[in-house]
């Protein structure tokens, strides 16, 4: 600090300003660490509970259908459903482990800010670019098996199966396209960062690149699929007019309605967290 430096007084004011917060203590840090770990534990527990419930539904459907569900064309449907649930579990695991900003304690201190930011952008870009392999394709073996099994056992609902497959294909394309566009935005940010680090953080944000809606839609679709399968025959008589429809159309209405409820619940949950 030289006396003739016109900013010396500002730096003194800056460094001598009164503290607005009481000093953070080690006990507070430990308490926060426990809260963070408890939050992660709660989230994992919720997913495990959802997984167990889904498995119970599958088991319940299997038990109620008796041995018939585990032989002939029905075997394909049952195995397909299990594969579908495993695919969903895999996607959720990938989302949790790779989908959010994460900072390993060591990297925070060994990496300068520009390199740290670049590494995060590269990770996000690669995640978005590979959305087919970890987000979409894991769902298809189960769906394909189920579709084949249903078609063999009951050719009369071929229209319903075709509609569901078309819906799944359209959603997959929409998800892949949205995320590919997100990857391009992130790549532009990486290019900008490499050209001029100072401008990197001034870019317009691409909101959440892994689009919220695509996650809601896909998760809701599969929950609705499982829910419709487990409880569809109980729901149809409860809704006026639904039992007058043909079986494929009624099934489609149930699945779409459950899916809509799923998307709305996700949106409400997201909005409530965003306000905090």
């Amino acid at each position: 600090m030289t006396p003739e430096d016109p900013t010396t007084d500002l730096r003194i004011i800056w460094q001598q300003q009164e503290r607005r917060e009481p000093p953070v203590t080690l006990d507070q840090v430990r308490a926060r660490a426990r809260r963070v770990e408890a939050k992660v534990d709660r989230r994992n527990l919720l997913e495990y509970v959802a997984g167990v419930v889904a498995l119970l539904i599958v088991t319940g459907v299997g038990m109620s259908g008796g041995a018939a569900l585990w032989s002939g064309p029905r075997l394909l449907v049952s195995v397909g459903l299990i594969l579908l649930l495993l695919g969903l579990a895999y996607v959720l695991y990938q989302l949790h482990t790779r989908g959010s900003w994460r900072a390993m304690p060591g990297e925070l201190g060994t990496t300068d800010s520009v390199a740290f930011h670049r590494a995060e952008l590269v990770r996000q870009r690669d995640l978005l670019k590979s959305v087919w392999s970890w987000y979409i394709l894991p769902m298809y073996p189960g769906m394909a098996l189920m579709a084949i099994g249903v078609l063999i056992s009951d050719p009369s609902i071929a229209t319903f199966v075709a509609l569901v497959l078309v819906l799944a294909a359209v959603m997959s394309y929409a998800v892949a396209r949205a995320n590919a566009q997100g990857a391009k935005v992130v790549q532009r940010q990486i290019d900008e960062l490499e050209a001029d680090p100072a401008k990197a953080f001034a870019l317009e944000p691409a909101t959440d690149h892994l689009q919220h809606w695509s996650i809601w839609l896909l998760k809701s679709f599969f929950y609705a699929f499982v829910g419709g399968l487990a409880a569809g025959r109980h729901i149809v008589p409860l809704v006026p007019g639904l039992d007058t429809l043909s079986r494929p159309v009624a099934a489609l209405v149930v699945v779409f309605t459950l899916m809509g409820i799923g998307v709305l619940l996700h949106a409400a949950w997201w909005l409530s967290r965003r306000k905090k």
Binding site: L10, R32, A202, T207
Partner: protein, 173 residues
């Protein structure tokens, strides 16, 4: 994660005592809202405490502390960037009206408020440079933390002095 050792706790205690005030000022440079600022400050302390297990002495402890703090702050603001106002560079901020009042700016508190407002509007790299400059770090140390060359930092520091002089010189004494 391995449980923090007693040495790690002791080192954290020393660093919190030495850099606690600077970390609070740093958090203020990223968050104007008092609750969010407190939240960020606690996140920084938690990250610092956890990080010390990985400290191998390849840089100074001061560099380590500031890297952890700024990288934690980047993660923090990146999670909510979609709602943040547009950020501007040092060159752009020089052309903006500062909304200050020459008479009232004599007050140190107001000068500080205006300084925080200016810092929070800057792009992240410019913000990091100015925050570290205000803490009296030299260009080489700033470069090591931010990831810019010392000459690049020197150019930015020169620009910072111009902007600060233009906005505050003669008003804060």
């Amino acid at each position: 994660m391995a449980a923090p050792t007693a040495d790690q706790d002791a080192l954290y205690g020393r660093l919190a005592a030495s850099y606690g005030a600077a970390l609070e000022r740093l958090a203020g440079g990223y968050e104007s809202d008092s609750d969010k600022r407190r939240d960020l400050l606690q996140d920084i302390h938690l990250a610092l405490w956890r990080s010390l297990d990985h400290f191998a002495g390849r840089c100074s402890l001061r560099t380590w502390v500031y890297r952890v703090a700024h990288n934690t702050a980047i993660s923090h603001i990146s999670r909510r960037r979609a709602r943040a106002p547009a950020l501007v560079s040092l060159d752009e901020v020089a052309t903006l009206a500062d909304g200050g009042d020459a008479a009232s700016a004599l007050d140190r508190r107001l000068a500080l408020d205006r300084l925080y407002t200016l810092v929070q509007r800057l792009t992240v790299v410019d913000r990091q440079v100015i925050l570290l400059y205000l803490e009296d770090l030299d260009a080489a140390s700033i470069g090591e933390i931010v990831g810019l060359s010392p000459s690049n930092v020197a150019t930015k520091v020169h620009r910072i002095k111009e902007v600060l002089s233009h906005r505050f010189h003669g008003r804060t004494r």
